[in-house]
């Protein structure tokens, strides 16, 4: 891949992406010929009712699912003939995931959870520990490195999950309802953390949410309805914490 191409092509691009589930009469059209471009450094919020295709979009961007037709390009490179291993490599080197349910390993300390992606990358133990401690510091969990998942509150668990997502310095942070399980105050803290990662560290953030107030942290809002991209505009509404 040439450097010039990298800078010119959008970071993420959907070309007529469709996704079907099932066959024949029972076919469900989760995504219907969607075109989409996301540039590096953006903070994109995705909204829509359930079944609208927003989760499918996230899964395809995350390399967890593949389009039925159309093409998904990452940094200008088509992923349509990627093998499962190549999709794993895409996730491993470019993407960080934050889930609604935190998805930390039980009975495992915060620092070990954060180290996990580095283990699969083959980073030596000492370097791994250093990077993981840095990431935990970045999310404001200095001093809680040794706590296991059960010993942390929901907000702290989500911070660990964010630290685990950013420890590999990914190009994109994919957040699927990151505040879905958190109260309002904690949600605000988590969103401010994510916003800071976007503005200060330049990490592209793509976030699915069903709360307008949370979506407002993004600088661009995509609305999905019935598998189609219904609207796509710069976000005008202020986040709900700003008075």
């Amino acid at each position: 891949m040439a450097d010039r191409e990298m800078t010119q092509a959008p970071l993420i691009e959907f070309r007529q992406v469709s996704k079907f589930y099932g066959r024949g009469e029972a076919t469900i059209r989760a995504l219907d010929h969607v075109d989409l471009q996301i540039a590096a450094g953006e903070f994109v919020s995705i909204m829509g009712p359930s079944g609208s295709g927003k989760s499918t979009t996230m899964n395809i961007i995350g390399g967890l699912d593949v389009p039925s037709s159309g093409d998904y390009l990452f940094q200008g490179i088509s992923t349509s003939d990627f093998s499962r291993t190549q999709l794993t490599m895409l996730r491993r080197h470019m993407l960080g995931f934050v889930f609604q349910g935190f998805n930390l390993l039980a009975r495992t300390s915060a620092v070990e959870n954060v180290e996990l992606p580095l283990v699969y990358r083959g980073v030596p133990a000492a370097a791994r520990r250093t990077l993981a401690l840095q990431a935990l510091e970045q999310v404001g969990l200095k001093g809680r490195e040794g706590h296991t998942t059960q010993e942390l509150s929901g907000g702290q668990q989500q911070r660990v999950a964010i630290a685990r997502a950013i420890v590999t310095s990914p190009a994109v942070l994919l957040a699927d309802e990151p505040t879905g399980n958190l109260d309002t105050k904690t949600s605000r803290e988590i969103m401010e953390l994510i916003s800071r990662l976007n503005s200060e560290h330049g990490i592209t953030v793509i976030m699915v949410t069903h709360e307008e107030g949370i979506a407002a942290y993004g600088k661009r809002l995509l609305r999905f309805i019935d598998g189609r991209l219904a609207s796509d505009h710069a976000h005008v509404k202020e986040p709900d914490h700003v008075s």
Partner: protein
């Protein structure tokens, strides 16, 4: 990376300690059974072999009839005094020719009585079987011609006389009043497990008249002189007996002449077969143990579906998840194997002490058991591991 995987596997095992223990129990029992059986079998074989080698390789046993199944020795003609004389005179290189009749009789002395084996023979028997006297004397010629005299073993002496020196006392053997002239030195258990000291030796003539009620001889023990090849003695004796028993050329012998190595082969053959059979039974239980491991690993994969989803989402390759579960299964089965080896050796150690045979560990069977348990881990762990690796990360993450 391997160290990391091992650590992960160890943590998963420790997380469910009781379940892990129950899982490996099958392998522990299987391996312990194999190790115990084979170790006890080896001990027995070693015991038989050392027993037989102590008896000497220059000893030959002559019996009527043929060894082996389907050959009735009862119909074969027994030997006579003249056969013994002929061997003594016509076969060169013999150190001792001992005719032998065996029977069981009740022995009484004072108030005590005991049922024991009674052997009728000559002084040559002492030479051929390496018996030494701890006190007293062998038979004198008048006794060899049939005068009552008995040489008794240590067990008989202890049971009948306690601490008293039996030489000079009189015992009754099946209504024969018999003065004790000698006491045998202790020999202990034979390879077949019977007490060699529980015996009485009396002159053949006395035995024939008063116990056997016959004038024939049931077997003859020969001892070749040092340096004389037993094969030559064996063929000389065979041709002599064929001639004396008028066996036509081309007909089979109706007697057998065998040396210790042939007896040893027959006996170790039996113990080896038994060891093999028991080992096979134990191997089946090892297989069952392997299926137990597979079962639990499948449950574990289902239980940890979400964890697998997380690992796949954050960049674990299929191969890495596969390795993780495979290492866990192998670790479980190897723990089982090592525990089983230790339990098996401990069991065998206790059992050989009880049976009075030597404790002979076989490194090869320990290595085989260890390797086998590891292989069981790989074979029965592979299917659950592959199932884990091929999970769809989206479904796995959604799994509750």
């Amino acid at each position: 990376m391997f160290l990391e995987t091992s650590k992960l596997a160890w943590r998963a095992i420790r997380r469910n300690l009781l379940r892990s223990f129950l899982t490996i129990l099958g392998v522990v029992i299987g391996v312990a059974a194999v190790i115990a059986m084979v170790t006890i079998g080896n001990g027995t074989t070693a015991q038989v072999q050392s027993e037989l080698s102590r008896l000497g390789t220059n000893t030959l046993f002559v019996r009527p009839g043929q060894w082996g199944p389907g050959r009735a020795s009862a119909e074969a003609k027994r030997f006579e005094d003249r056969d013994v004389e002929a061997m003594r005179n016509q076969v060169s290189g013999l150190r001792a020719v001992a005719p032998l009749n065996r029977g069981t009789a009740t022995v009484i002395a004072g108030g005590a009585n005991r049922s024991t084996s009674v052997i009728g023979t000559t002084n040559d028997y002492m030479i051929a079987q390496d018996w030494d006297l701890s006190s007293g004397r062998n038979f004198v010629p008048a006794e060899e011609r049939g005068q009552a005299a008995c040489i008794i073993g240590q067990t008989v002496s202890r049971e009948l006389f306690g601490a008293i020196d039996p030489v000079g006392q009189t015992i009754r053997v099946s209504n024969i009043s018999c003065p004790v002239i000698g006491l045998l030195q202790a020999k202990g258990q034979s390879g077949m497990g019977d007490d060699q000291d529980d015996t009485i030796i009396m002159p053949l003539k006395l035995h024939q008249r008063r116990i056997g009620g016959t004038n024939t001889i049931s077997s003859i023990i020969l001892s070749a002189q040092d340096g004389v090849p037993t094969a030559k003695v064996q063929s000389d004796v065979e041709s002599l007996l064929r001639e004396r028993r008028r066996i036509a050329i081309g007909r089979d012998d109706d007697f057998s002449v065998s040396d210790m190595s042939q007896m040893a082969a027959a006996m170790t053959g039996t113990t080896t077969l038994l060891t093999g059979l028991l080992g096979a039974v134990a191997a089946v239980s090892l297989l069952v143990g392997g299926i137990g491991i597979m079962n639990i690993m499948l449950v574990s994969v289902t239980e940890r579906t979400r964890e697998i989803g997380i690992r796949l989402a954050i960049g674990a390759l299929e191969k890495q998840v596969l390795t993780q579960f495979l290492v866990e299964a192998v670790m479980l089965s190897v723990f089982g194997g090592v525990t089983g080896i230790m339990v098996g050796l401990a069991l065998a150690y206790g059992a050989v002490g009880f049976l009075g045979v030597p404790f002979v560990t076989s490194p090869s069977i320990i290595i085989v058991a260890f390797a086998f348990s590891a292989i069981i881990g790989v074979v029965f762990g592979y299917f659950p591991a592959r199932r884990a690796a091929q999970l769809n990360p989206i479904d796995a993450l959604r799994h509750e």
